[in-house]
């Protein structure tokens, strides 16, 4: 598994906010980050490792 993401995969924002998150890509384990805003608005993310598009 790759190391934890430190920025939002979609927006590039640092993951410092309370409602942000970091997790391994469900498909390949690469680190994915999501800012509070991207999570709250359901903004898609694309895994830099395998191209999986979530959520």
């Amino acid at each position: 598994m790759s190391k934890k993401a430190e920025v939002c995969t979609a927006s590039g924002l640092p993951l410092t906010e309370r409602m942000s998150t970091a997790f391994p890509c469900p498909s390949c384990g690469e680190g994915i980050g999501r800012s509070a805003r991207c999570r709250n608005q359901g903004v898609p993310y694309i895994c830099p490792g395998c191209g999986f598009k979530g959520p």
Binding site: T21, F23, P24, P26, R34, R39, G42, F52, G54, P55
Partner: protein
């Protein structure tokens, strides 16, 4: 995950358990997972079962990246309660079914306080209390999302009927099997023979 992978279960089996039957409402977010509107005049939106199957495989893979005891499964919905509990018991995860006591994930002073690392919700809308606490605690969220749900605060969506008794039984039954298989503890035949899907259905 794309392409030629073998489905976890024949698509007909998903269909006979109504896993693909959505609601009359379709959200913008779920459009990508919706196949068509039922031709029977009910106006129900039908979910693309191939995507459901792919996402179930991904969800099992994802859950396998965590310690079982760090996984929390919740279901406020009645029909999800028995299958969610059986899933949790089978894989060694924690579960909260029925009412979710506010503060369970956020208030260390509560007797019921726990600190899971990942949460699995049966319905992001019905499980909104658990969902919002999980979000505030920075943990990733897997949700079974029906055609009327949106993807707000969901990090991995499993598009499926999250209201039907048989649908929820099948989803949790399959997920449990896959999580145990990934750990090397199970095979399809043994699971099939020891776990009757009907026993996973809520009875009320």
């Amino acid at each position: 995950m794309e392409g030629e992978s073998v489905p976890l279960m024949p698509y007909e089996e998903y269909q006979s358990n109504k896993v693909h039957i959505g609601t009359q409402t379709k959200s913008q977010d779920m459009q990508q997972f919706i196949h068509e509107v039922a031709a029977d005049g009910t106006g129900l939106h039908l979910i693309d079962i191939e995507q459901t199957d792919e996402r179930l495989q991904l969800a099992a893979n994802f859950l396998g990246m965590y310690e079982a005891r760090d996984i929390l499964v919740v279901s406020a919905r009645q029909y999800g309660q028995r299958p969610a509990r059986l899933f949790a018991q089978a894989v060694g995860a924690r579960h909260i079914v029925g009412r979710f006591i506010p503060g369970t994930l956020t208030n260390p002073l509560l007797r019921t306080y726990i600190e899971p690392q990942i949460i699995f919700v049966t319905d992001p809308q019905a499980d909104n209390q658990a969902l919002s606490e999980a979000i505030g605690s920075k943990m990733p969220v897997i949700g079974i999302c029906d055609t009327n749900n949106n993807l707000r605060n969901v990090d991995l969506c499993i598009p499926a009927n999250n209201k039907g008794r048989r649908s929820l039984a099948l989803i949790y039954w399959l997920l449990a099997r896959e999580v145990l298989k990934a750990r090397g503890f199970m095979d399809d035949e043994t699971w099939q023979h020891t776990q009757n899907i009907e026993d996973w259905e809520s009875s009320f």
